[in-house]
Symmetry: C2
DNA sequence: CACATAAACGGAGGCGCCTCCGTTTAAATT
DNA sequence: AATTTAAACGGAGGCGCCTCCGTTTATGTG
């Protein structure tokens, strides 16, 4: 196992210049905030302006609006998955599960607009739900497993079932009381899951 | 069965002023041509200009691009359905059927771009194929029935089956020889349908 | 025919999209 | 440190979208 390439090779393809990387990150950051606040239809020129770069730079990094949206979306999905581990270290297994489900439902619900206008969720939904892999599914699975093993919740629940239960919660129509309502439903779900003492 | 409204009622809701009706028709005409030639992405301002009206007029008649596209699409679909009757009067039943299938496949193939960017076909496809009603289906059915009854073709073919056969033809990838190819395939289909003497 | 009026017209204007290309700059080379 | 050069920047400009509102016109009424 030795003697590969003479020198350059380790960091794979596409090294970005320092300024490029900075700008790219900045754009993603700003775009995430803008999408969250004003929806995916936000003007790209606004985003560029807020990020302090020219519109040309934005387009160089993200050739279409969809590219940008997708990157933002993926990044947030990853952080949601990561939150599972974090919550597991901070709360009891059942509370971690409950809190994570709240965040999941809240997050996905926000993204419905995004999904509709871009059919990104359509694509990743299958990777999210029915299919076997997926970051999100993995996150839920691990929370569920821990809580089950430690006796906090029943052990006869499949990840897939819970995913479906959640999906029915986030797909209820938008309304002022949406948040409370979904919290109540998740509470209900948890009550069903928790083991009796 | 009498004594309805006092006077005005016959021509239902929305009487258009003469100029309005003229302009509307003109716009549809021009739009149909433009879509055929340059695709659905054609500039609406171009269409308005070619129709000799202001852009404002176009938008008053068709509040969104989709509205216009849909009207054009429906109109053409209707004329396709009407062609069935016409062809039936001009050719032998089997030839009428063959020619009609050619037009159908040719027409729908052109509209793929339209369908993709607007998911109109998605919607009307179901009304076109699997479902029981629909102008197009009706047209094909009547051609098929006549040809069958008069002994030109086999009688054990369901309209639905033929629809599916056609749909597989028009969905073959675009290429220079697309037309010949589809004609060959329709010829093949007809050979299978025709009764032997 | 003249008048009133609601219907329809049309295009200027503001905004966002996206491309193109002259300028700037990070970083490799000497 | 100076030089080189390819990568990256940025914004002007052209185009299309769509709205808004002052002007024109078809049509019903006296």
């Amino acid at each position: 196992m030795a003697s590969a390439e003479p020198k350059t090779a380790p960091p794979a393809q596409t090294r970005l210049r320092a300024d490029a990387r900075r700008n790219r990150d900045r754009l993603i950051e700003v775009a995430a905030a803008a999408f969250a606040e004003k929806g995916v239809e936000t003007s790209l020129e606004d985003i560029a302006r807020q990020a302090g770069v020219g519109i040309g730079t934005l387009y160089r990094h993200f050739p279409t609006r969809e590219h940008l949206v997708e990157v933002v979306y993926r990044r947030e999905l990853e952080s949601l998955a990561a939150a599972a581990t974090e919550l597991a270290g901070k709360h009891s297994p059942d509370m971690a599960l409950e809190e994570w489900m709240r965040r999941f439902v809240g997050y996905i619900a926000t993204k419905r607009g995004m999904a509709n206008s871009l059919r990104i969720l359509m694509t990743s939904n299958s990777a999210l739900f029915s299919e076997g892999s997926g970051l999100i599914r993995g996150a839920l699975e691990s929370l569920l497993k821990t809580a089950g093993e430690q006796g906090y919740i029943r052990r006869d629940i499949e990840t897939t079932d819970l995913m479906h239960a959640l999906s029915s919660i986030y797909s209820i129509p938008e309304s002022p009381e949406w948040r409370e309502r979904s919290h109540r439903l998740i509470g209900l779900l948890m009550d069903g899951l928790r083991t009796r003492r």
